[in-house]
Symmetry: D4
Subunit: 209 residues, 8 copies
Amino acid sequence: KRQGFPEVIFGEGKEASHIIDISRAMLSKGDNVFITRMEKGKADAVMSALPAFQYDEISKTLFMKNKAFEQKFNDYIAIVCAGTSDLPVAEEAAKTAEACGVEVRRFYDVGVAGIHRLFAHIDEIREATVSVVIAGMEGALPSVVGGLVSHPIIAVPTSVGYGANFNGLSALLTMLNSCASGISVVNIDNGFGGGYNAVLIHQIANRST
Amino acid sequence: KRQGFPEVIFGEGKEASHIIDISRAMLSKGDNVFITRMEKGKADAVMSALPAFQYDEISKTLFMKNKAFEQKFNDYIAIVCAGTSDLPVAEEAAKTAEACGVEVRRFYDVGVAGIHRLFAHIDEIREATVSVVIAGMEGALPSVVGGLVSHPIIAVPTSVGYGANFNGLSALLTMLNSCASGISVVNIDNGFGGGYNAVLIHQIANRST
Amino acid sequence: KRQGFPEVIFGEGKEASHIIDISRAMLSKGDNVFITRMEKGKADAVMSALPAFQYDEISKTLFMKNKAFEQKFNDYIAIVCAGTSDLPVAEEAAKTAEACGVEVRRFYDVGVAGIHRLFAHIDEIREATVSVVIAGMEGALPSVVGGLVSHPIIAVPTSVGYGANFNGLSALLTMLNSCASGISVVNIDNGFGGGYNAVLIHQIANRST
Amino acid sequence: KRQGFPEVIFGEGKEASHIIDISRAMLSKGDNVFITRMEKGKADAVMSALPAFQYDEISKTLFMKNKAFEQKFNDYIAIVCAGTSDLPVAEEAAKTAEACGVEVRRFYDVGVAGIHRLFAHIDEIREATVSVVIAGMEGALPSVVGGLVSHPIIAVPTSVGYGANFNGLSALLTMLNSCASGISVVNIDNGFGGGYNAVLIHQIANRST
Amino acid sequence: KRQGFPEVIFGEGKEASHIIDISRAMLSKGDNVFITRMEKGKADAVMSALPAFQYDEISKTLFMKNKAFEQKFNDYIAIVCAGTSDLPVAEEAAKTAEACGVEVRRFYDVGVAGIHRLFAHIDEIREATVSVVIAGMEGALPSVVGGLVSHPIIAVPTSVGYGANFNGLSALLTMLNSCASGISVVNIDNGFGGGYNAVLIHQIANRST
Amino acid sequence: KRQGFPEVIFGEGKEASHIIDISRAMLSKGDNVFITRMEKGKADAVMSALPAFQYDEISKTLFMKNKAFEQKFNDYIAIVCAGTSDLPVAEEAAKTAEACGVEVRRFYDVGVAGIHRLFAHIDEIREATVSVVIAGMEGALPSVVGGLVSHPIIAVPTSVGYGANFNGLSALLTMLNSCASGISVVNIDNGFGGGYNAVLIHQIANRST
Amino acid sequence: KRQGFPEVIFGEGKEASHIIDISRAMLSKGDNVFITRMEKGKADAVMSALPAFQYDEISKTLFMKNKAFEQKFNDYIAIVCAGTSDLPVAEEAAKTAEACGVEVRRFYDVGVAGIHRLFAHIDEIREATVSVVIAGMEGALPSVVGGLVSHPIIAVPTSVGYGANFNGLSALLTMLNSCASGISVVNIDNGFGGGYNAVLIHQIANRST
Amino acid sequence: KRQGFPEVIFGEGKEASHIIDISRAMLSKGDNVFITRMEKGKADAVMSALPAFQYDEISKTLFMKNKAFEQKFNDYIAIVCAGTSDLPVAEEAAKTAEACGVEVRRFYDVGVAGIHRLFAHIDEIREATVSVVIAGMEGALPSVVGGLVSHPIIAVPTSVGYGANFNGLSALLTMLNSCASGISVVNIDNGFGGGYNAVLIHQIANRST
Ligand SMILES: Nc1ncnc2c1ncn2[C@@H]1O[C@H](COP(=O)(O)O)[C@@H](O)[C@H]1O
Ligand SMILES: Nc1ncnc2c1ncn2[C@@H]1O[C@H](COP(=O)(O)O)[C@@H](O)[C@H]1O
Ligand SMILES: Nc1ncnc2c1ncn2[C@@H]1O[C@H](COP(=O)(O)O)[C@@H](O)[C@H]1O
Ligand SMILES: Nc1ncnc2c1ncn2[C@@H]1O[C@H](COP(=O)(O)O)[C@@H](O)[C@H]1O
Ligand SMILES: [Mg+2]
Ligand SMILES: [Mg+2]
Ligand SMILES: [Mg+2]
Ligand SMILES: [Mg+2]
Ligand SMILES: [Mg+2]
Ligand SMILES: [Mg+2]
Ligand SMILES: [Mg+2]
Ligand SMILES: [Mg+2]
């Protein structure tokens, strides 16, 4: 566990009882605990044992705040995506950052097919320390944002789409081949990784020297 | 051969002598002849037999105008791409259209990583009948243009790039998955196909009823 | 929204309540509304709130006509496919065009394995402004039609088939590699895209100059 | 070695001296010898040692007839392809059959983009015992022929094409997914395999019972 | 419909009522009717309307014999596979041949990992006119059989296996790359195609000249 | 051009004369200029026109320092890789950072198969602001480093290897699937991207607030 | 059946009744019987007929010990993996070895992202005859272990992960490309194969000469 | 360096001068040195500096024996392959084993298409401690050998073949999916890995207890 981060559990493929056990051990050490990829049913089972957990249905995350955040920040991370279908991944990124006590600002209706909506918000995005840009289908959004801002971008491809998107492969390749510089990429649908890398960068941007 | 089109020869894999023979047959019928994918050496060999051919080194095409174009058009096709590396494919599209007597306007420095350059020309692009948008690497340009214009777009992926672009697969998938509507796609590096489809559409836009 | 087109909603992955909200906003502006990829259950939920929607079970589309179509056309789009299994995609294309007020003619039993059936209709196909040709499995139909007509063809690969068709990859590659010219391609199962591109071309064929 | 067949050597990757040695051994047993995939230089080296070999430059095969063919046939195999680029593979098939003493008839300008040329020859193709149908790019020709004839078809995909044909993968998948029945497929560019399977079928069609 | 073959319906993706309609039309013309890819439920629905259909649960085929077979044969087709898991595909091939009035002999426990079982039957396999060899997992069986018999082999890859067999891709590639000659390949799990091609060859082996 | 960065030219596919022209324009504005992917011959051509360029043969980069670096930093970036074969990519990353005036420390013999060498340097790696970790073949190094340091890691897969590494695909997938958190990935062989992203992060770590 | 091994049945795709029949035949010969890939329901059905079978829910294996193991060994096989999600595959390997009378030692919490846990056990792993190393996601564990031990390693990739792990392809490629020597690989999720190969090696290490 | 093994250098991509330096350092410690993947020209350069190296042209390996082998063995490793084209990989395996002082026996003309040749040698193969089985094209040989012997098999796929063998992918998948048990696999063309793993197993089979 890195400084400033909660304990994190990857919920997928773990049984509720097993998650409860791990969580109890972590909580007993006074840590904040953040759990990803929790379907509602399993989350409910965990919460009936540990009711202080808060469940977020869109990102499918559980969070329990056991102690105050370790650091205070003045600036924020921008979470940028195109709309409805990418929301679960975008919110996984956002909740991850918030579970570290970092402010996020959401820009959720700014896909490349309607680029004026991106322009309407570009100044506020530019002032973030770092952006997490989420996109499915053709995955072009990080390239466009990357050409407009000068901070680092963590690009998160999603599996949203059909046919020749091959479960996110299309968006993944797009992002890896971006001609805009300052973009690095995490796994398909890995909102957690997007948020986590952004927080790491945000923290060192705010370190006291 | 469709009306208004020259006779077309796909030069790749054909020997100069064979091309000369086919060309002679076509020329004897009074046709215009357009040949694609001609390396300089082979083009020179053809031109020493048939010196009325004009060679274009960037698009690697040969053209011989044997008779006047069949139709007069008032409007133009926009050929849009990001820059240096995609030029051979863009010019193959442009020369194809010009070999059909159609005016093209070139917008060749407008990649998504510097989107303001696209905006500087967007009004002139918008007024075209149809656009051919060429892009390699991540291939995001057609999606962005598609969101800004309302005419049909023929998207041409190129094999420009390296690594995870897998010889144009990345750009191809991007274009097939575009969330902008009004985009259809031809084969990787198929500038000819881009230009040809654009001319077909341009012609029916100008048909006299 | 382009001129002459209804407002379009991509239904997949959106909840009924969300679709009802968006639809209401659009309807209040007097627009026609067209929704694709609606399973029957979800369509029923939308229609119990907004009963003026018409559901089409084969194409899985909803349409509500709120105002007269903006333009009158004399000619038609040909929708060409081989038979039973490709019908849902073909009808998605057809309904898209009809939701724009464009006449379509359906040629639905003309696969390449029984090419005489195609020949029986070829004259009527030839007189269309543009064809949408849908095919799964080996996807050869657009190549054959492309050799017989001189208007543009929008080719739509479908995921119909099994084994080495790899969910439509086979038909997609076939269409991208067609040796017939005048063919451009949209995503696997993207009947909407096929119809939409055809309408765009059809409109400019009918623009008043 | 099957009855009626020459000894066959796969020339690729073998040195001339090694090929000469194997050939001598075979010739000493009185066999006919057929060698595939021989570049001109290597073929010349073999022929300077064994001048009775005949080299065919298009198919890149060597043949030496050492004894009379074992069987006399009244009928023929049809070799069908679209044109210039597929010729080397088509001729590898043809020479393979001829090296077994089987008559072949060549139909070499009948691609699907100009289907009337196929129709001009269809009766003569229909009367063959079996067809070998060779195609690159989209590989649609076997499907169309398969719908028109009732004998078995051996389909041979070629690597001819570029971009999304992925070195013959496109044509291979097309042929495996054909909706016409009576088609089976060999490896990409395997003209030998096409000819060989056709001869096997041709032989049993002519067995004396 | 080829001579000697029943009318064939590909049942997958068709509704029972639609299949009943097509069948009725065929039966009224006096044809035999053979239907593949019928799950039990759908088959039951068809049989309650048309009780003369016979259902085979392993191959998932329906057959109705309406008239005598057109030809009498003295010889047989060998159907060869390794065991339990490939049985549905092997039986689809077998039932296809039997629906054409052709005798099949089944060799169903002869995988390459226990090659002595193959040897125990090899003489009887050798005397067949043609073999259909079915294999999943590594798909090596056709290569081994191909080295031991001299008649043509139709190889059918199956999707049986897991992990790196990628739903039959492994077996498909194995068969296409076989170093044994005399093997041609059909689509993954295409037992019907295997049987059909074998019958075509078997018929011409038995044609009266 | 971002603040603190030189003007950057992607040399691949551009002719020397074209590069000289672009460079002259940039130099006239007083910028530092950095050029990647320059084969020696082309670099020599550029240097004979512009002798102030410095060529580095391993990374194949050219650099001309025209003015002092804009910022002074106290800390450094770690460049970590396994050895000989990955050096060109590692040095492209290193030279990119140095062209921005950022100190790099090189850890070039620390592959996972001899993990004690990594441990010998781990403290100095830990104290970097950010690491660029380069690996070919199986690409496991970023995962191991990621588990040992708490700053962000930019992972760069290389195409070094053979067979089932599929030109870098293996290392790319490894890095995208890393179970260590804090890792983001750039394109195969994209040393420039690795260095560039690291500098961006390094800069914000050193911004004056 | 090899000496020292039980009879093995691959349970997947076989019906309970069929498994009971095969088991009875084997048991009547006095063999030990080991069955893999048995879902709980099917295992219960088998056990109600043959109650002496022991079911293990994690590895989904059934075992019946009918006679004493044939050999006594002093040493052990190490089974090494990272944690929760890979357990079913690891236990399939372990149970396979135990069904041959070989001792296994389990090292189940030693993933590369927390490499100190591996180091805590490395001496005990080193003393094994052979290791089976199981990993999903990036699959880096065998490379790291391979660099630390000098006995052979059987690497088992698992399908655990999501997105760009492509159902185990990522881990598989990683292991095949390992720069550590002494590693060979079995199919994705093939715990049985991992255990089986390890036992084979273990046996020859213990053969009496 | 493991006990009993020479120092090994992977020659590909390293310059002669660099190899000479590394070799000198190793030789000065009294080690035996073995170098793989050395083209003739580079090998000559190394030998002119270090003439005690022996070059083997088929396997492209260099070996210098500086001291006696550490162990004496009574038994041998079987190296099994089909013929001419796979020889370089087979010999890389053989030379690797011999550089460790282990006897190898070569069985080099035993492909599955002529299985009687394998049977002629099977007893001698059976008596080996371990087999390395090399195959290209369809890669079926390890499955067949695996069914006939009871010792472990290291399978080495080669890139020999064309078309749908996709540079060795076909043989690799075949081997990973083998239904014979006791087979594990190394990278495509990795003769060294095949030999190395075999020696490791051979050594523990001969350890003194
Ligand atoms: N959604 C996610 N995707 C990828 N990695 C995750 C995710 N959520 C958590 N993780 C990682 O998984 C680790 C916990 O894994 P585990 O020990 O299996 O619970 C965390 O430290 C994270 O690095
Ligand atoms: N660069 C190109 N890419 C794809 N198709 C082309 C190209 N150039 C020409 N063609 C097509 O090739 C046909 C001529 O082919 P051929 O008869 O082989 O010369 C033309 O009618 C075009 O349809
Ligand atoms: N062009 C070809 N493609 C595939 N297989 C071939 C080809 N030419 C010959 N063969 C096969 O290769 C065998 C001879 O291989 P070899 O013993 O290596 O010369 C012949 O019996 C044929 O089965
Ligand atoms: N989980 C497994 N994965 C791969 N192969 C297996 C597995 N379990 C058993 N086998 C193999 O399958 C053979 C039995 O197959 P079967 O005759 O179909 O029951 C055994 O001898 C093993 O070689
Ligand atoms: Mg930027
Ligand atoms: Mg648009
Ligand atoms: Mg046409
Ligand atoms: Mg037919
Ligand atoms: Mg044979
Ligand atoms: Mg870390
Ligand atoms: Mg080791
Ligand atoms: Mg064995």
